[in-house]
Amino acid sequence: MSEPTPGTGATRASVPDQATSDAADPPQSPASKLERAKDAYELVSDVLTPQTLLILLAAAIIGVTGLFGGWNNVATAERALPTLAPSATTTASPFALAAEKGVWFAEQKGAGLYPRPGVRYVMVSLRVTNLTKEPLWTATLNHALVPQLEGREQSGSQPAPPQILQVDDAQALQVLQPGLPYHLVVVWTQQDTAPAPTQLTIDVASHTFRVSSIDAAQDWRDPEAQASVTVPIRPAPVEATKK
């Protein structure tokens, strides 16, 4: 027999019974929650198969990533290039080169640069040495020099490649022999609707010698700007351009 609880008149034995009767739902065990979840899943299991759920999860991840800008193009990191003085020699693999000065003109017949409607020539003199032990095509040198030239003539969707001539005889150069010091001019073409430059900034890029990922050919690839040089450009004397 239980003793009565002071002030209530209820006995101790009656307390659990009263609590049980007052509760709306009995507390559920983890096992019963799992059972209920299973029952709920049974209702949609024919549509939401595990594979479907994985796909939905992947789609949600992709969507959320996109919402937060995860699929935007990575902005090219603005990196300040070291600046070179005109005529200062720098090593941009596989060359050692120095850009000196430049002129612009509409024609230079002695060099085979004839007048073309709507086009002017911008020419920069350059000293270059091939630092490898093999002859190198001047195409590699083309890619090592990126002029910040407004209105540069296009060839298809790409900027028109420059002509590379030897200073001594204005002969076009195709190959740079190893270790020989070349004095060259690089000639870019510019639409004459753009203002004639008074100076020209040229980014100088270095290359990496590697095997192509498409075939077995080894070559200098992946030009990467490593310095820039700004050279003065003046108009060529008219009488000089007629020779």
């Binding site: 032990k133 095509w137 150069l173 195709q174 190959v175 190893p178 270790g179 077995a216 050919a217």
Partner: protein
């Protein structure tokens, strides 16, 4: 227990065969050598060397700081030193070209010189059975003349993909120190239009 003589003979034959096989295998080219490395024939100046495209003989080596080539205009100056190699050609089987673009002058320091030059004479197709002459032109470092070797492939590598040059002749030009000094000090203009120094 005594080993029967027959077993000893078998053992001896087996060991001998394995040894011979090993020696032969060491002398056979590897798969890489077959697929990448060219077959190299060696010769000296004035010695004919036969490749699969023809027989080639270096008959002369000339040098000059400038050249009067087949291109229009005045004589052109070399950045280093022009070296002209005169080659006699006897084509085999069909009309053949000399590998002018892929030929290299290799210096003892490992540098190789070659490739197209604006002033280089154009060598025509050579008919089989008829001796022809071709002059190869190089612009080289005059300090690297001594001991130079001409590497002349059987044909030009126009494809540029992989080892298109499968066979070549390495021709010792016989340039010793004295000859190198003479070539480096040569003056005047090489006239490649008539094959003789002017």
């Amino acid at each position: 227990m005594k080993t029967p003589p027959r077993n000893l003979v078998t053992l001896g034959v087996t060991v001998t065969a394995l040894t011979l096989g090993s020696v032969v295998a060491e002398r056979l080219p590897t798969a890489t050598q077959i697929s990448v490395d060219p077959i190299v024939r060696t010769a000296g100046q004035g010695e004919p060397v036969t490749l699969r495209t023809g027989t080639f003989t270096v008959t002369g080596v000339r040098a000059s700081p400038q050249v009067k080539g087949v291109a229009y205009g005045p004589a052109h100056k070399a950045t280093g030193r022009y070296v002209a190699i005169d080659v006699e050609v006897l084509a085999l089987g069909e009309p053949r070209f000399v590998a002018t673009s892929s030929a290299r002058l290799v210096a003892t320091d490992g540098r190789s010189f070659g490739g197209p030059l604006a002033d280089a004479p154009v060598c025509p197709a050579y008919q089989p059975g008829v001796i022809g002459r071709c002059t190869l032109l190089f612009d080289v470092d005059p300090q690297a003349l001594s001991g130079m070797t001409l590497q002349l492939p059987a044909q030009d590598d126009f494809v540029g993909l992989g080892p298109a040059i499968l066979e070549r002749a390495d021709i010792d030009l016989g340039i010793d120190e004295a000859r190198a000094a003479t070539l480096a000090a040569a003056t005047g203009t090489l006239d490649l239009t008539d094959g003789a120094p002017r």
